[in-house]
């Protein structure tokens, strides 16, 4: 019995990592993998709310609305303040025909109430309109100089141009990285990819990335400790880091102006990545 438990513990990922991975699996359409991972994690941490949420989402994807609903209701019984669960439950209710009917009923009831209240609301709106008209007339009475100070106008214009050119440049830069992500994710086995630029901003495709905010502390501290080890041991510049855990492989490609983070299902595509990545990242 003890051995069995130990085996389970050994297989069980820590909450941080299994939630992130399950979320990634779900985001990439690997629903069964997400369900398996969440269930394994919940055996060890049965009250992990994030895991229940991901599992509910996966159940929705599978079309098991009732199961998902039950899970969310249980979750809300334990923590009635879980807003994500509330939102998800509301979504399910909208999807379920029976619940939809109930909602329609509620809406009609609400309408009946609102008709009686409409008159008073209209009165308030009328009062606000009147206030607005008076304020407008007051502004009209101000001299032109007060309304538009000429100095401010001159200063504002170049700022606007500068800001728009910077925005354009960053947009172009981000677009080029998005192209790279598209190419990288086409490589066999790659589940996920994102870039971290020099200023710390993350470039990612919304349809591919799950909870990278949870993974970044791990990848970041790993990158920093390896970099400092490299400089202390004088083993040259860091090129690639490859971290293999039971549920997948993380690759970090260290470049001068950015870091490229990759997540793969298995490590068997390393040779391919090593050959293709330098060309893509050029």
């Amino acid at each position: 019995m003890k051995e069995k438990n130990e085996e389970k513990l050994g297989k069980a990922p820590s909450s941080l990592i299994f939630i992130s991975l399950a979320s990634m699996y779900l985001d990439n359409g690997m629903v069964d993998e997400a369900i398996d991972l969440c269930k394994a994690g919940l055996e060890i941490e049965p009250h992990n709310e994030e895991a229940h949420l991901i599992l509910a989402k996966a159940e929705i994807e599978k079309g098991n609305m009732e199961k998902a609903k039950e899970r969310l209701i249980k979750l809300l019984e334990e923590n009635p303040e879980n807003s994500s669960a509330k939102i998800l439950l509301e979504e399910i209710k909208q999807k379920l025909p029976e619940e939809k009917f109930k909602k329609e009923e509620e809406e009609t009831r609400e309408k009946e109430i609102t008709v009686s209240e409409t008159h008073s609301i209209m009165e308030i709106e009328k009062g606000e309109e009147e206030e607005f008209r008076i304020e407008k007339e007051k502004i009209k009475k101000f001299p032109e100089e007060v309304k538009k100070p000429p100095d401010m106008e001159i200063k504002k214009q170049p700022q606007k141009i500068e800001k728009s050119t910077i925005d354009k440049e960053t947009e172009e830069l981000k677009a080029s990285f998005l192209k790279k992500i598209k190419k990288i994710t086409q490589i066999k086995g790659v589940i996920n990819c994102f870039f971290r630029l020099e200023d710390g901003s993350i470039v990612r495709t919304p349809q591919l990335i799950g909870n990278i905010e949870d993974l970044l502390p791990l990848l970041d501290s790993l990158l920093n400790s390896i970099k400092s080890a490299g400089s202390r041991l004088k083993v040259g510049k860091l090129d690639i880091i490859m971290l293999e855990i039971e549920n997948g492989v993380f690759y970090i490609f260290e470049k001068e102006n950015y870091d490229c983070f990759l997540f793969s299902h298995k490590a068997d595509n390393f040779g391919l990545l090593k050959a293709l990545l330098p060309k893509i990242l050029e």
């Binding site: 990922p13 941080l16 990592i17 400790s225 400092s228 202390r232 041991l233 040259g236 880091i241």
Partner: protein
Amino acid sequence: MIINNNVDDILDDILKINSVLTTTISSYEGLVIKKIGVEVIHRKKLTVEIAKIAKSIREHLPKQLKHGITLSVYFDKFDLLIVFFENFIISVLCDRDVNMGFLKIKMRKIIPLIKSSL
């Protein structure tokens, strides 16, 4: 930690692989438990740095993993393979032309033997 004499033979097997320079078993505190091979980098320094890397991994990843956590780091001059276990760390320092795939397969085979010898 008590070490069985078989560990020497097991580590010797790794050292026979082309381009493998040194193999070390160390603790999470940075202590060298068993060392074998050419000392290209000061071994004590290396195990201390590995312990630092292990600390950052332990903060974020589970302590108990059946197959351990494998970290391969590719530097300009050397390649470094580190396998983290519950109580100890195995690190292998290699030249850049090492066949990392073959080394990992070999490591997977010998790890249960090392576990039973410690």
